[in-house]
Amino acid sequence: MEILMEFGSRFVSQLQSPTLAFLLGGILIAALGSRLTIPDAIYKFIVFMLLLKVGLKGGMAIGEADIGAMLLPAFFAVVVGCLTVIIGRYTLALLPGIRTEDGIATAGLFGAVSGSTLAAGTVVLESEGISYEPWAVALYPFMDIPALVLAIVLASVYLKKKDGTGDKVAIWPIVKESLQGPALSALLLGIALGLFTNPDRVFDTFYEPLFRGLLSVLMLIMGIEAYARLNELRRVAHWFAVYAAVAPLMNGLIAFGLGYIAHVLTGFSPGGVVLLAIIAGSSSDISGPPTLRAGIPTANPSSYIGSSTSIGTPVAIAIGIPLYIGLAQLVFGA
């Protein structure tokens, strides 16, 4: 009971945190019809800056880390990526009025990872003084790529069964395309630069101090975007909205469970468990949609883009992040 109340008060205080406040602010002004927009060039640059910074920080710390400890969490990241897609695919297939291709693509997007949500997660963890393994950010691709690949494979299998139109899926091109996308490229470049060079000074004077501010602008953009994409959602079956509200938390909790096992087995830190859950709870907003558009062309983009952007991401950030932190305090003790 006390725990619930503490969770409630934490939740209200999160609503006032800049990360969430800017997200809600964006939704609000969009709903009020504001013509405020952030230029596309700024949006792209912010995403680049945030992921490069997250990568740099990870890379600078990985050098001193025990890489062996990364194996189990990385394996669990792959498992979560696949498991959440499979669960999503069959859950959505059961719901009425949903075309199977649309369901598979949506499950794929919710299984994949959002760089913006990851960035937001690291800020909240740091604000709360919760430490995590610096290499934990590198779990992103281990979850993201399997989820997208699996979704495309599942769609192809389904289409082949249905009417023989599904082509055999070449997996490597999808992996390559994911790694070459702007979000993962920036993250991996940051990790490499952090690992092999000495970016401390430029990190301390530029990437680190601008991080929170740029994130606040990105959250604003994502809020505006969430509202604007509601139109997409209105065109598709209501069950997508329900799935979009539930899946982020379900996926996050699955990852929390596996992270807990890694904690017990190999000492994966509580902060790392929370970050794994945050990553799992996020749904891809940058690289996932185009990959799915190309990989499952028969799926209606309105279904997965609408679900993820309008509901999935706000839920993942506004409810998911405080939820996993609260849970961690419950499970691992204050």
């Binding site: 994409r229 690289s287 028969t298």
Partner: protein, 104 residues
């Protein structure tokens, strides 16, 4: 070297650009021109991977001038057959007189 030619215009989703240009070049056209475009049609697929509130367009307009009308129609057919079941787009052709070109 003024010469009557066919002007093929393809308006479709930006994600298809690399695929459409591959078809254009395979069909033997000597060149093409691309422009950003926005638009409304009957499908109106949302553009993946970019905020709709950004100030950019999510369609492209591709113009191909070909000496042979057949080449233009072949390109149009291949693009439509391969993509228009699942992607937004419209294709039309007209006649123009090419006054100067480095090759046609």
């Amino acid at each position: 070297m003024t010469q009557m030619a066919t002007k093929l215009v393809i308006i479709t989703e930006k994600v298809l650009l690399p695929k459409v240009t591959k078809i254009i070049q395979a069909a033997g056209a000597t060149g093409y021109t691309v422009m950003d475009a926005g638009g409304v049609g009957s499908r109106n697929t949302p553009s993946p991977g970019r905020p709709i509130v950004s100030d950019t367009y999510s369609n492209i307009k591709i113009e191909v001038i070909t000496a042979s009308e057949d080449v233009a129609r072949t390109i149009a057919k291949q693009v439509a057959d391969k993509y228009f079941d699942n992607f937004s787009g419209i294709i039309h052709i007209g006649r123009v007189e090419v006054l100067y070109a480095h090759s046609l």
